[in-house]
């Protein structure tokens, strides 16, 4: 993967910091769902449960373990290890509940392209019929339209990934902005936050465009601006992402005992 932060400034890996930062977006009453290649959000949910949100539930889509016990964390969302869980749902039931719309409060998403309005694309770069880059496909991302809060994470932060407009809309964010968003009347709450190796972003309430919230330790604002292919909304003051505490890192490393997050 391209576009990570330079050398981590101190004793944690980028994937670990991203898990910690995603955990901070979660709440005690959340029921979260995630899919393909979701080791980072799984650890984020495990960390949230072990610290500030003991009553949070999370479903590791694919294998569909509910509150998978991790330790070790695995790279594939369909790995048998994820069946060591509190309960396991059939995949078809998770798809039903995603459609129901009032069960999952958080959906973790990502893409080959993520645009200024938080729309995601895992399908194709360029013209869909004859793409410059054919991606794998959209899986469950169309369900983003139905979930409470969408938390976007990406291991790449560069102008090819963060684009003004996705070439193929596979996971609806705020569509084309406030007018289209209101008109669509989507049941979900839309994208809430975006975590990358460089920074954490949220969305400006007036324009519904992505806004820089905090830069990770060792990263400066100019780096983020240069790595983003559209004009980010700038808050009056950009803060620095709080470094992972030793308690957070200890939990992350207990859950990710085989170091999947460090390997990225």
């Amino acid at each position: 993967m391209n576009g990570g932060a330079a050398t981590p400034p101190s004793g944690w890996a980028t994937g670990e910091l991203m898990a910690v930062e995603l955990a901070r977006q979660l709440r005690n009453d959340d029921v979260a769902v995630m899919g393909t290649a979701s080791a980072i959000p799984q650890v984020a949910c495990g960390l949230a449960r072990a610290t500030h949100s003991p009553d949070l539930w999370f479903v590791a889509g694919g294998a569909c373990g509910v509150n998978p016990h991790l330790a070790p964390t695995v790279a594939s969302c369909c790995d048998e290890e994820l069946l060591r869980s509190d309960t396991v749902l059939p995949l078809g039931d998770v798809v039903l509940l995603e459609g129901r719309g009032d069960v999952f409060t958080v959906f973790f998403a990502g893409g080959l392209q993520i645009d200024a309005y938080g729309n995601c694309n895992l399908v194709a770069v360029g013209d869909w019929a004859r793409p410059a880059l054919r991606g794998p496909g959209t899986v469950g991302l169309p369900f983003l339209s139905r979930v409470g809060r969408v938390l976007i994470y990406s291991l790449s932060h560069n102008p090819r990934t963060f684009v003004e407009r996705v070439d193929f809309l596979g996971g609806p964010g705020f569509l084309d902005g406030p007018g289209s968003w209101v008109e669509a009347g989507l049941p979900g709450g839309g994208p809430a936050a975006v975590v990358t190796p460089l920074c954490t972003m949220d969305f400006d309430q007036a324009t519904l465009r992505m806004r820089l919230r905090s830069v990770h330790p060792g990263v400066d604002v100019a780096q983020v601006v240069e790595a983003t292919g559209f004009e980010l909304v700038m808050p009056d003051q950009v803060t620095q992402t709080a470094a992972p505490t030793s308690e957070e890192l200890a939990v992350v490393r207990r859950l990710d005992s085989s170091g999947v997050l460090k390997g990225r």
Binding site: A37, G62, S76, L83, P90, L91, V123, G137, T138, P142
Partner: protein, 291 residues
């Protein structure tokens, strides 16, 4: 009735060349019915339309690499944390493989529609804001909800002519036990006109009937049972062995070019019998889990 066949006989008898809609089970790098897929390649069985679970992997990419797939209905073909699917990507970018773009909800509910004889399935509101249906008007269309008058997305039923599936065990009549996660494998079995199963082992019926509740595929839906211990390799088989990442990385690096893909097919598929393949990967140091 004894449905146990060799892998060669099962494909020869039950998967015609040019079959209309062929479903391959498993999801991501787990439970791919690779013994059956490799035999499709050995017998040059062309597929008019291949259907994956919500996430296809080597089960689809190998058939595409062999040039056997005309169209693919899928919501994902890739190798998750290991990378993109090289043959799928190359074929689509070159315009030689037509994609029927799908999403997870449609594949899952569409198979239920196929299994239940539903004329179509209505999908949850909001999904129409993704571009998927616009790219695949053969499988999706916007219709008016007769109860509310709102526009909603409808999907055509998915009823495979053949489903190629992996199960942990089956008896000779085809009653089968799926171990671990089922993904959409049961739905594929329920919806398909013909089901060819590969299993880690064939077991006596009385052994299964002691756990009849867990024997979730009834034999009357199954036409052929192939005993293929290790047959998901290099993908994992839940309850039996884990994914062989070293072998998959070798596939990915070879299949990065069309010539390399052909040499992989020659070395690991067409040039060897299934028995020899399994013997060679077990003998190699790269094997993962307890084959």
């Amino acid at each position: 009735m004894d449905k146990v066949l060799s892998v060669g006989e099962a494909i020869e008898r039950f998967v015609p060349d040019g079959a209309g809609l062929v479903a391959v089970g498993g999801m991501h790098l787990q439970n791919n019915p690779m013994a059956l897929v490799r035999e499709m390649v050995r017998q040059y069985r062309h597929v008019t339309r291949l259907l994956t679970s919500p996430c296809g992997a080597l089960n689809a990419d190998l058939l595409v690499a062999a040039g056997l797939v005309e169209q693919i209905a899928t919501s994902y073909v890739g190798f998750e944390h290991l990378g993109l699917a090289p043959a799928f990507r190359r074929a689509v970018e070159a315009g030689v493989l037509r994609v029927l773009e799908c999403d997870e909800a449609y594949i899952t509910h569409g198979l239920s529609a196929g299994a239940g004889g539903l004329p179509f399935v209505a999908l949850p509101a909001g999904l129409e804001f993704a571009d998927v249906w616009k790219a695949n008007t053969e499988s999706y269309c916007l219709v008016t909800d007769p109860f509310t008058g709102r526009k909603v997305l409808a999907g055509a039923p998915l009823a495979p002519d053949v489903a190629l599936l992996h199960a942990a065990a089956a008896d000779a009549a085809g009653n089968a036990v799926l171990a671990g996660a089922h993904f959409v494998d049961r739905s594929m079995a329920l919806a398909a006109k013909t089901v060819v199963l590969q299993v880690e082992r064939v077991v006596p019926t009385d052994q299964l009937s002691r756990q009849a509740v867990g024997t979730t595929i009834p034999g009357f839906l199954v036409q052929a049972v192939v005993e293929a211990p290790g047959g998901c390799h290099p993908t994992a088989s839940h309850g039996h062995y884990r994914v062989d990442e070293a072998h998959l990385r070798r596939y990915l690096s070879l299949a990065a070019s069309a010539d390399g893909a052909l040499s992989y097919l020659e070395e690991f598929v067409r040039g060897v019998t299934e028995q020899d393949y399994l013997r060679s990967v077990q003998a190699g140091a790269s094997v993962g889990g307890e084959l």
